[in-house]
Amino acid sequence: MKKWLHQSFFRQVSLLLLAFSVLSISGYAYQNYNELKNQWRSAINIQISHLTGLAALMVANDLRYEKYFDLWDKLRKIQNQTPKGEEGALFLIAEIVVLDNSGNVVGSSDPVRHPLMRRYSGQLPQSSDEMQIAGDGTDSVRTIAPILFGGERIGSLVMAFDITPFSSFLHQHLRDFAVYLILMAVATALFGLALARWITRPLGNVCAILPMLGSGQAMIPSLSLRQDEYGLLGRAIEFADRRLHESDAQIRMHRDHLEEMVKQRTQALEAANRELEAFSYSVSHDLRAPLRAIDGFSLALVEDYGDKLDDAAKGYLQRVRGGAQKMGGLIDDMLQLSRVTRAELHYAVVDLSAMAEQIVLGLGTQDPRREVQVSIAPGLVVSGDAGLLGIMLQNLLGNTWKFTKGKREARIEFDSRMEHGERIFFIRDNGAGFDMRYVSKLFGAFQRLHTEDEFPGTGIGLATVQRIINRHGGRVWAEGEVGVGACFYFVLK
């Protein structure tokens, strides 16, 4: 059944029309033939009956008065009277036989076949008071009628008719009819094909034009000029094509416009970034120069005039230097934070373990007197910006180093674990720790949880760490307990 739908529409329509016409013509033909046959047959039967009745009447007298010669003569004459029509005789009288009440032949049109005074040799149709017809089929029919004289049955008349002319007449008619039918079928088929084509061709045109939809040039005059449903379809398609073309053009325009805007914005951003970079650079540069002077000359004072200064004076100068150095640190940190925010991320495979080892080495070199137990898990590899991740680790590990200063058995651990399908890195120390009540302030810029005396620092380090991790699409959090230690967790995308 599915195969049916895969045929072209033209074929579907043609086949349907053909099937319909063949069926209806066949039906009509069959009906017609049958009716014709029956009509003619009944007409013949009527004539036959009529004839038989008449013959019975005609021979009654001769039979009663035993005028056998006259009877025979009459029978012969009757036999020769075959009704002829325009088409020739449709039936012939084959024989007429007269029987007495005992069933003996008393007269016949063919005495050789039915000798007198013998029993009738042919087949007798069932006898009754009325006339009977026994149809034997296509070739012959028999009738039997009672011969009545004065209301009394004196014998029977049997007539046999040869209806082969009728059969051949029917066949002839059938042949003519068949020819006519074939011609009709061919004509209908041709008509059906033409009709199918007429119906389906516009669809073919539609399909042909579909690839052009969107070009704004699709024209289908064979349809759109019509005033019928196909006309509507054609005009609708042309309209749709023009609209599509317009839409496309608009979209392209918007897209170009957007791209232009994006380009402009990007340029503006890049320019702003460059300006900011230049500004930060020169700001830090220019701010450092006076700091150098403050720190340098304070030191020079202590070194060159130390013998003329008392401890208090030296202390003041030390504080001057401390202030200058602190400011230098702040400048560096702020510059770093600003750069971290603006820098382009260049993703690469970064080995955090190796990086951490390097950093710890550096910390150890700066402060060789300290003994710290460091445990860095190997293979902590991530995808991210190497520079920024370096700064992040520097800050976190620097913190652990700094805050474990008091502890005798300082321990620093850097490892990771899997939880809910994500990799959580953590840096743990057993240093000073912090009060969890202030955990929300931990990552704020310039926020500190310790005084400068307890632990030096600018308060920007963790803000920088958070900025870096956020830029990687991750998150960072911390847990701590005063006097026990702290642990910083982070996840990267």
Binding site: Y281, S284, H285, R288, A289, P290, R292, A293, D295, G296, F297, A300, E303
Partner: protein, 145 residues
């Protein structure tokens, strides 16, 4: 005198004083000539402008060069020095105020021999001098020679 001259090119007077102090802290006997910007440095080296008449056969043993200078930039001074056969071989130690990568790379590209961070620490300076094979320049000389 025949002394070995060090040319210090530095615009900031504080930095100049501190640098000279750092060098002299350890009694090196070099003469330190100071110029305040790139143009003066070039005039000095090529005997032009305000230094017209200086004997250009006598060139400094090496140059301490700050990068950010008015009028003529430190990098340009370096370029000019390397372009001229008279000054091409004079070792140059660049003074930087920060470890800005770009500056360092450029100064090496243009032929600086070393760099020292400001404020000048004498030991760092000594290391730089050693690297340049100029240790003999900074030996303490007995006064009175």
């Amino acid at each position: 005198m025949g002394s070995k001259v060090i040319l210090l090119v530095e615009d900031n007077p504080d930095d100049r004083i501190l640098t000279v102090r750092a060098l002299k802290q350890h009694n090196i006997a070099n003469v330190i000539d100071e110029v305040r910007d790139g143009q003066e440095a070039l005039d000095y080296l090529f005997g032009e402008g305000q230094y017209a008449g200086r004997d250009v056969a006598v060139q400094p043993q090496f140059v301490l060069l700050d990068l950010k200078l008015p009028r003529v930039d430190g990098l340009e001074v370096l370029q000019r020095m390397r372009a001229d056969p008279r000054t091409r071989r004079i070792p140059v130690v660049v003074l930087t105020s920060s470890s800005e990568q770009q500056d360092i790379v450029s100064s090496y590209d243009l032929g600086a021999n070393s760099y020292v961070r400001k404020p000048v620490d004498f030991n760092e300076f000594l290391d730089a001098a050693k690297q340049l094979g100029l240790y003999w320049l900074v030996l303490n000389e007995v006064p009175g020679e």
